[in-house]
């Protein structure tokens, strides 16, 4: 491709725009003093029950670790690098205190290197598990995906811990990346995570956050683009039970022209005090002409006593776009659907089960990682067994 004057200008504009701040997201910085301990009244913290973070935000140093079990396809290497090296690789700097603490306290980062033009049917699987919520674990991961590589990355979190981590995906031009982060923690775990993705020119990234377990899980997914033509599909599925707080915060920063973001998050809630939060922030910068963005959050409330907060935010600095839209809906079971199924002899509980499966099905199909699809369906089933299908 020849560099025309016009695109030279837009490159210059991107550089300028780097300093433009989104009011939805605090400015990125590695400096901890830029990220004071939150009181809970800040816009980005107002939904989070800070007490239940069990002191993570104090930032005590700790040598506790999660146990890693890995399945690494040939060609991919895993090594340890310093925080400075991670910075130089082009990770997105922290934009809030937990991510900044994770970088400061992890004592270096784990680098997963996927070489250019890598291709394999086998997914890269990292199983991380903790022993006890008494353990405070700082995590810093960097995935570097080379140009035109095709890779599937599966991260599974189980057991318990207080885990605060930042994970960067630096995706090369034309690469195709599928990411699944599964939070299947035990009931008492606390997880603060930030997945930041830098999407290369013409690259395509599908990121799925699936959260079932934990007392409090607060996940960020941030996307930025390294050039035009990048596409990000951000999917999420969550199931909050009694007393659980599950929060997903999305930020798609359209900082390059002709980029796409498509966000679909679906959640179900059941039991007293189940609380979910979904914040979908999209920023369309002046330079981001011809972009397309859509975000959607749907919640299905299965019992009384649950709360689903859902806030889509769109900041638009240029009108020259292909399309931008959002949808957010929180609903209970649809009486007409249940009536229809039951009029065919299906019991009430079975009808509810069908409807919930139906609600998640298309999303699970979209995640499209066959090796975990069965497990996801089985976990949804197990969640349903806790309430909807429970015989009283």
């Amino acid at each position: 491709m020849t560099v025309t004057e016009a695109s030279r200008e837009s490159v210059a504009a991107v550089l300028e725009q780097d300093r433009v701040e989104s009011h939805l997201n605090p400015p990125p910085s590695y400096d901890l003093t830029d990220h004071p301990v939150p009181t809970g009244r800040e816009e980005v913290w107002r939904f989070t029950p800070i007490k239940r973070l069990r002191g993570i935000l104090d930032g005590e140093s700790s040598a506790d670790a999660l146990t890693w079990q890995t399945e690494v396809p040939e060609g991919i290497t895993i090594s340890t690098i310093t925080a400075e090296e991670a910075r130089d690789l082009g990770e997105l700097p922290p934009n809030e205190r937990p991510a900044a603490l994770a970088v400061a306290n992890a004592g270096g980062a784990t680098l997963v290197d996927v070489p250019a033009e890598f291709a394999s049917d086998e997914p890269l699987v990292l199983r991380l598990s903790g022993d006890s919520v008494d353990d405070l674990v700082w995590g810093h991961l960097v995935f570097r995906v080379g140009n035109h590589a095709e890779v599937t990355i599966v991260l599974v979190h189980t057991g318990s811990a207080r885990y605060c981590t930042t994970t960067s995906y630096v995706v090369g031009d034309g690469a195709q990346v599928r990411i699944l982060s599964l939070q299947d923690w035990e009931d008492d775990a606390v997880h603060l995570g930030r997945d930041s993705i830098r999407v290369g020119r013409d690259a395509n990234v599908r990121h799925a956050a699936v959260t079932f377990g934990g007392d409090l899980v607060r996940m960020h997914t941030n996307v930025e683009y390294d050039g035009p033509g990048g596409e990000a599909e951000l999917l999420g599925l969550y199931f909050a039970d009694e007393g659980q707080h599950i929060e997903h915060r999305l930020f798609a920063d359209h900082n390059a022209p002709k980029t796409k973001s498509n966000v679909v998050y679906k959640g179900a809630l059941q039991g007293e005090g189940a609380h979910t939060v979904w914040i979908g922030n999209v920023l369309i910068r002046k330079v981001a002409e011809g972009i397309e963005t859509y975000e959607e959050n749907r919640n299905l409330v299965l019992t009384d006593g649950c709360q689903a907060d859902s806030v889509p935010n769109l900041e638009i600095e240029t009108g020259e776009i292909e399309g931008a839209g959002h949808a957010s809906a929180t609903a209970r079971f649809d009486d007409e659907q249940l009536f229809y199924l039951r009029s065919r002899g299906v019991s009430e509980k079975e009808a509810q089960r069908l409807v919930v499966h139906g609600f998640f099905n298309d999303l699970i199909r979209k995640i499209d990682i066959p090796s975990v699809e069965e497990q996801l369906l089985a976990t949804v089933e197990a969640e349903l067994a806790k309430n909807v299908l429970k015989e009283i």
Partner: protein
Amino acid sequence: MSTLEIKDLQVSVTTDDGPKEILKGVTLTISSGETHAIMGPNGSGKSTLAYSIAGHPKYQITGGSVTLDGEDILEMSVDERARAGLFLAMQYPVEVPGVSVANFLRTAKTAIDGEAPKLRTWVKDVNGAMERMSLDASFSQRSVNEGFSGGEKKRHEIAQLDLLDPNVAILDETDSGLDIDALKVVSDGVNRFRERENKAVLLITHYTRILRYIQPDHVHVFVDGRVAESGGPALAEELEANGYEKYVLAPR
């Protein structure tokens, strides 16, 4: 033998201005081997009758009784009624996103029979039922009624009638919105059902054209929440010629 006996049925719906009476005493007996047609103007309460028998939660029964073979079905839950042998082909079948037709049909059949259908014959049965309704095999993998055309939804209802094999079928305007070929396909489906032993059909319609394919034994004129007149097939012809005028009170 089964008999559906509706006696002096009174039904209300809740509105912002309090309860509104829709059915004002409906009496009707339908026995197996019989096909009854109900015809009546818009808003006269035909769907209300159908939904009330099926147990839709929107409708409150304020009086009267409905029994199936002597059993009080108003005491039963919606799914118990279906398992007792009732089937309602709905005027507006409901979409259930994410639930495949195949999964839905298997779940319903299992519920009705009390055991899972034999895998080998079941797949054949489903394919046969779909084919007889001119529905492509790919419909099995689609979500229930989602994105189906009006006619496809109606044919899907009759495919279910075929597979679930109830004793008493209530068809609420299954003929509406069908083109002439689909009408033929649907009528053939209903007639095949009628040929089975001990089946009763209550067919709600606005048009005599379906009655040329599905011949009723009894025709009832339904006006303002009641059966205004009952007769044989000839009554349908008369309605076609003269409309409901003589049954509807002249405006004062």
